[in-house]
Symmetry: C2
């Protein structure tokens, strides 16, 4: 059971970072207010959908004026918990894990991959930027010690379920899975599957003949 | 100017793979027909949005019955050009490039990364599964020779614009960019920025306190 009430649809939560990124671009261009009509046109979304999405969290817009850009950025960052530092664990220091770790360090934000684990003794002790790879045996203990609730899985598909089970055991409640495997997690855990294939697929539409 | 008429909003094109993946799951569960209401509930989207999205491409549903799952899968695959093999070039054989290449080979589909390029002599000639890394000098010539229209950029941010320019020069019209850089491309080229940060951000919402 979720501790949140009301329950927000997943689609809404997935659109919030899209709104956020766009609002930050508007702010960079010194735009101070924006209407749901303008946002809808800029993001190819129904203005009513945008108003409904944001209304889950409160009354952010004003009739005839729209949304104040800075205020809405602050609110969405609060909703997504981007106003505090969140430690993230990464399991799997293969090519993908290393790439994700570098990416995270090069684009500093509030989500910090501070712990990386691998079961390969050859990788344990390896430095990825400021982070040192730890042995997988320490996973659960380390998660609990540092109260880590969020994790990224970047291991081969055949190990992904075991890793997910151990993450849950260690107290993780939000998992981003890069392994091409359908994972089972308890109801209270949120699982997201990263999907490179979908990105490529929707791009194929734009290949001109 | 686009050669397509009517011009389909980007948001619609990005939702098609989501519909497709879900329809394939329904098919796996032997579901034969589905209504836009059911799809909307399952995908957290407005049923009217789904009907409108699909209506850009034709009349796929029937009143009182809904959509035939198999038929709609075929149609979306045609729209996204997933019914033919599309060659994809990858530039950058670093950790991310290697990971993407392995991923593509492990999940075979119609989008085939068959050519990989890098400007580092130490990487040229390296095998990634069935593909051999080629020198970056051959990029434009190879793209033209094999009529490659789609490419993935996985180089450091500071080289991404130069690579994009050369891809366009070689005839590429659809680019998936993994470099954290804002790239400029001509109007006829479709650029998509992969965004690991947004994925993590929307996941942070589910971190329970």
């Amino acid at each position: 059971m979720s501790t949140k009430a009301p329950r927000i649809p997943l689609g809404v939560i997935r659109r919030l970072p899209v709104y956020l990124r766009h609002l930050k671009q508007l702010e960079d261009h010194h735009v101070q207010t924006v209407s749901s009509q303008e946002l809808g046109a800029q993001l190819d979304l129904n203005p009513a959908q945008i108003r409904k999405d944001l209304a889950y969290f409160g009354e952010f817009g004003r009739k005839g004026i729209g949304y104040e850009v800075r205020y809405l950025i602050d609110k969405i960052e609060q909703i997504l918990k981007l106003d505090r530092e969140i430690p993230v664990a990464l399991v799997g220091a293969g090519h993908l894990g290393i790439a994700l770790c570098h990416y995270n360090q090069n684009k500093p934000g509030n989500l910090v991959i501070g712990h990386v684990f691998d079961n390969d003794p050859a990788k344990v002790g390896m430095r990825i930027g400021q982070v040192v790879v730890r042995p997988a045996e320490q996973l659960e203990r380390c998660l609990r010690e540092h109260q880590i609730r969020m994790a990224v899985i970047a291991v081969p598909a055949e190990h992904a379920q075991e890793v997910a089970d151990r993450l849950v055991q260690g107290g993780v409640t939000a998992i981003l899975n890069f392994a091409p495997a359908a994972l089972r997690v308890p109801e209270h855990v949120h699982l997201r599957n990263a999907d490179f294939t979908s990105e490529l697929q929707s791009l194929a539409y734009y290949v001109l003949d």
